[in-house]
Symmetry: C2
DNA sequence: CGCCTATTTGAAAACCGTCAAAGTATGTGG
DNA sequence: CCACATACTTTGACGGTTTTCAAATAGGCG
């Protein structure tokens, strides 16, 4: 169990609540409950009822969908201070994807109705949410373009660049995860990354990839032949 | 030139403004100007400055992006009463895609700053926008999964089902447009649609596709072999 | 040390894109 | 009303990219 003060502290680190006063944050904190998950544990499953809106206090969560043959596709990763589950909550429809903890994770959960009634009184928070949703749509559209029209090598290069823009040059992902994000297979990802590794474009150790030569990666992302 | 009353009438047909009073609509109408476009004409181009937010009064608009080799990818279609350009406007970053009129189109355009200052005073409109953005994210995520993991035949089936859920069984698209949405080529689309046509799953005449057997299409979308 | 997961490599085949050419509607102007 | 231009549709053959299947290696943790 954590204190109200700690909840306020966690909420205040989230972009969408940055405009709130201490008092408003306290009001929000009173609606929030803490939930803990271990690595691999599911927070909700696609098609579940949209009862909870979440903010990550500490940890990492992935949103996944599955193809008709059961292949996992990673839709997004979320880290500290980020919200998720919002699409379902705002539409009042089942969650469009499953949410799974990637590592030990602490969340603050707020009930759908509580959060919506809070939201109508907080136009600035609504604007912040609009901003975040717009950003996610922009990213989704970019990925749609890549998946619909680019080769695997370019998709992987773009994926690494997108991730490193958000997380830095050290990327804590396995080849499997990268494949599930780029819409390809582990084997293909390995073949391409091995090549890049021998050309000193990236470095890697088990479950961790480092971008060494961003310039060359950018050329690969643009599909210039024989970089 | 159209009258204020007509603008109010057009705005009132839009979902996001359904909560507004006549007076509020009039205020919004005063900020809006009418713009007309002929088929094929570009309303804005990817990377343009995000100066305008648009509502479609009458017509049809597509959002397109291009791959590194120049192939066109259709991100979305918008029809009467729908907004577009919002991602750029809310993030205050360049438009993430180009917007092109598909047919003769009339728009209402509102300047970014005008619209944002209107928005902070209208929490219900903000909630409506959140709702629309959430819906678009849901759709984008579903397409991401399809593009990343499903075969072309299944992608086409799903695309047709998604479009028909929105527009009805009569779909005004060419095979080229369908290909650009499903991330494939005209030839492949034709080969698959021809097969479906001979199996009476769809019908088609130049630039128009009719869904005849939705049940079978659903099975194809799920990838059941030999339906 | 031994297990489990991540990574690697190879070979064969499937899927789909590419290229080339031709057929068929629709509309236009003479 | 016909002839032509244009865009959409169709078909076939070929080949490349990527998946699939199988098996082996390597690194980290209890």
């Amino acid at each position: 169990m954590i204190s109200e003060t700690q909840k306020v502290e966690i909420l205040s680190r989230s972009f969408i609540f940055s405009a709130l006063t201490g008092e408003e944050l306290t009001g929000l904190a009173r609606m929030a409950i803490e939930r803990r998950f271990t690595a691999e544990q599911f927070i909700f499953i696609e098609e579940d009822a949209p009862d909870w809106f979440y903010i990550i206090a500490d940890g990492k969560v992935k949103a996944v969908k599955h193809t008709s043959l059961g292949k996992e596709i990673i839709i997004a990763f979320f880290g500290n201070g980020e919200m998720f589950g919002e699409v379902a909550v705002f539409e009042n429809k089942p969650y469009p994807a499953s949410a799974q903890a990637v590592s030990e994770t602490r969340l603050l959960g707020i009930r759908r109705e509580d959060f919506l009634s809070f939201l109508v009184k907080q136009p600035l928070v609504a604007l912040g949410i609009i901003n975040v949703l717009a950003g996610r749509l922009r990213e989704a559209q970019s990925r749609l373009r890549d998946l619909a029209g680019e080769r695997v090598e370019q998709r992987l290069a773009r994926m690494l660049l997108m991730l490193s823009a958000k997380l830095g040059a050290e990327l804590p992902f396995t080849r499997q995860e990268l494949s599930d994000m780029a819409g390809t297979t582990t084997e293909t990802t390995i073949r391409i990354l091995s090549q890049w590794k021998s050309r000193k474009i990236i470095g890697s150790v088990r479950g961790r990839i480092t971008i060494l030569d961003e310039t060359k990666l950018r050329l690969l992302a643009e599909g210039r032949p024989r970089v």
